[in-house]
């Protein structure tokens, strides 16, 4: 789709003066949304009741409703996203995940989805606990900061990793919490007693199940989790 993403390398375009001319910084590609959307949709049984935390414009939920006849609900913080979600005919509640979502009753959904949002919330553990509370099963898509290019960037350039295609720097990034695959497993399985049903690493823009050294090779990961309450 775009060549820069193929190489996985881009200049930090907004702050060229910030860099020496030949200093290249790795920018983690925004994993192909259609790819992760596809993976998510393929795992959710038709007619399920699904909630998407950080639903953006509600695109994924509209697909789940139309393709899988799911009953859907979105949670979104930004007003723009809320209005776009309404325009997609998807019910949406404006809420800040950092404050929890008490508007959603416990156990009221079959699936809770959180795609590329967990790293942006202030309290990821709390956000996951809220997911566990409201749904039996969860799908979480997160960037993997254990990716080798990120590691190299830290080691060789001594600079904080830049993620996605937006030219965020450490001081203005929405990504507050950087985690690797090992970190995520430790939190969900070790701390929250979830069961990882599936771990699907995204490597070079495709989903590779059972990849070797995924913590080094994956740019992001799709997790299918089961709540300890399930």
């Amino acid at each position: 789709m775009n060549s820069a993403a193929d190489t996985g390398i881009e200049y930090d375009a907004a702050q060229p003066h910030d860099l020496k001319p030949n200093m290249r910084r790795y920018c983690m590609p925004n994993p192909e949304l259609t790819l992760t959307d596809g993976i998510i949709i393929s795992h959710i049984e038709p007619s399920s009741r699904v909630i998407d935390l950080g639903c953006g414009d509600g695109r994924l939920l509209a697909k789940l409703r139309d393709l899988s006849d799911c009953s859907v609900m979105g949670i979104e913080l930004e007003e723009k996203g809320v209005l776009e979600t309404i325009s997609n005919g998807v019910p949406v509640i404006q809420a800040n995940l950092d404050h929890g979502i008490p508007e959603i009753p416990s156990g009221s959904f079959d699936w809770a989805v959180m795609s590329q949002t967990l790293q942006q919330v202030r309290h990821p553990k709390y956000a996951l606990q809220e997911m566990i509370r409201i749904a039996r099963r969860m799908i979480v898509v997160v960037p993997n900061f254990g990716y080798w290019k990120v590691r190299l960037q830290v080691v060789w350039q001594g600079r904080a990793p830049v993620t996605e295609k937006l030219p965020y720097s450490w001081y203005n990034t929405p990504n507050l919490h950087l985690m690797s695959i090992s970190d995520f497993r430790y939190l969900t399985v070790g701390q929250l007693n979830c069961r990882i049903v599936k771990e699907i690493p995204i490597i070079n823009g495709s989903a590779v199940e059972r990849a070797w050294a995924s913590n080094l090779r994956a740019e992001s990961v799709v997790y299918i989790l089961e709540s300890p309450l399930a």
Binding site: V92, I93, I104
Partner: protein
């Protein structure tokens, strides 16, 4: 300052234009309305206005519920009044606006117990030939909604696409979906609540007290006299403060003085600060247009409203409803707060209703829904469009009884 010009007033093209208030007579004997309080009332005259065109399928009806002291004149201009003053929701209802009259047939009616053309305490009791005054039965929001539902039925409309209202109007909209679960496609309740807070009851109580304590109240039989105008103005001044926010008062008036440069140190000068002058003006204007008895009845209806109590629990109220809900609140509204709106949202989620919620940012407090119409339209327009397109489809996902 511009001088007075004799140029004729042009109705803006963005308006629904010239409109007329119509009346219908309902609940004529032998079929009176049995009110929540157990009284019988009839015949009941209802004042209403309509804008836009009813579709052949009669599926594009939007019913607008007005707030406490509003009326049926929601949009457009009246022929024989000051043409420069349009309906109270002019910026929100009209061609291409939040409620688009090019697509929808909009109906707005004055409430039961009001004084703007619908039967209320100031109307003549046919049994006695005198004005009802305080013999008018105490009415509930549910009674108001039943009268409006009956109005639509007589207009040949069995099902509405949406019921839309702010504040007390939002309460009516919520009641519509609870009372007529299959007759409402969508509810849009803005800056509203399933019941008012004790704080609101407190303000209403003081307002009513001001009216009742006025020597001119005469046990409600003040018609033809000057009536409790000071009490009514005071009630309005008090209520008006609750519609604003600290920030909006600060922004609009600050501590600025009205006519003087310096403080006058005159205790009895009524309008020294601009905010004083403004409140007195609001009070005065209100007395000219509103009946003190209606104010008593309608604030009481508001205080009594409690969906939780009426239906056993808040979520039970809408468990049979097939409506989509859009609940909106304003961050600076301290009369009908965000947490009250969220309470409704939580209840609707307990029975998995189709509900959307948005908290708008606006400095104008409770009044925001009358002021920030563009902001509101950004949510309402797509919400109505989506509801309408699914409304037209065979009712795949709709429960039917």
């Amino acid at each position: 300052m511009a001088t007075e010009t004799s140029e004729p007033f042009q109705i803006p093209e963005t308006s629904v234009g010239l409109v007329e208030t119509q009346t219908a007579t309902l609940f004529a004997p032998p079929h009176p309305l049995k009110t929540e309080g157990g009284s019988k009332l009839g015949p009941i005259q209802v004042a209403y206005e309509t804008y836009g065109t009813l579709s052949p399928a009669r599926d594009n009806v939007i019913f607008i519920c007005h707030a406490l002291t509003g009326d049926a004149h929601a949009a457009g201009y009246h022929e024989n009044s000051n043409r420069k003053k349009p309906g109270w929701w002019e910026d929100f209802i009209g061609p291409g606006k939040g409620v688009d009259t090019d697509q929808y047939f909009v109906v707005c009616a004055n409430v039961l117990g009001g004084c703007m053309g619908t039967t209320g305490p100031g109307a003549i009791n046919p049994e006695t030939g005198e004005r009802y005054s305080l013999e008018f039965p105490v009415v509930a929001i549910n009674d108001i909604v039943r009268v409006h539902h009956e109005l639509l039925r007589t207009l040949g409309i069995d099902r509405v696409l949406a019921v839309v209202g702010g504040s007390l109007g939002g309460m009516q909209a919520l009641e519509w979906a609870a009372s007529y679960p299959n007759d409402v496609g969508a509810v849009i309740a803005i800056a509203s609540a399933a019941n008012v807070s004790a704080q609101s009851i407190a303000f209403n109580t003081v307002g009513r007290r001001a009216i009742l304590a006025d020597p001119q109240f005469q046990e409600g039989r003040f018609y033809g006299d000057q009536g409790p105008r000071y009490g009514l103005a005071l009630a309005r001044m008090l209520a008006h403060i609750t519609y604003l926010s600290e920030a909006s008062i600060e922004m609009k008036f600050g501590r600025r003085l009205q006519d003087t440069e310096k403080l006058t140190y005159n205790l009895l000068k009524e309008t020294e600060f601009q905010i004083e002058s403004y409140l007195h003006y609001q009070g005065r204007r209100f007395v000219e247009r509103f009946d003190a008895n209606s104010y008593l009845y309608l604030t009481k209806a508001m205080d009594y409203f409690n969906i939780t109590e009426s239906y056993g629990s808040l979520s039970d109220a809408w468990k049979d409803s097939t409506a989509r809900f859009l609940i909106a609140s304003y961050d600076t509204d301290w009369l009908f707060t965000t947490s009250q709106s969220k309470e409704i949202v939580t209840a609707l989620n307990q029975t998995a209703r189709h509900v959307s919620y948005i908290e708008f940012q606006s400095p104008y407090g409770h009044d925001s829904f009358l002021i920030e119409c563009e902001q509101l339209a950004a949510a309402v327009r797509p919400f109505l469009a989506q509801t309408y397109s699914s409304f037209k489809l065979p009712e795949k996902n709709q429960k039917t009884n």
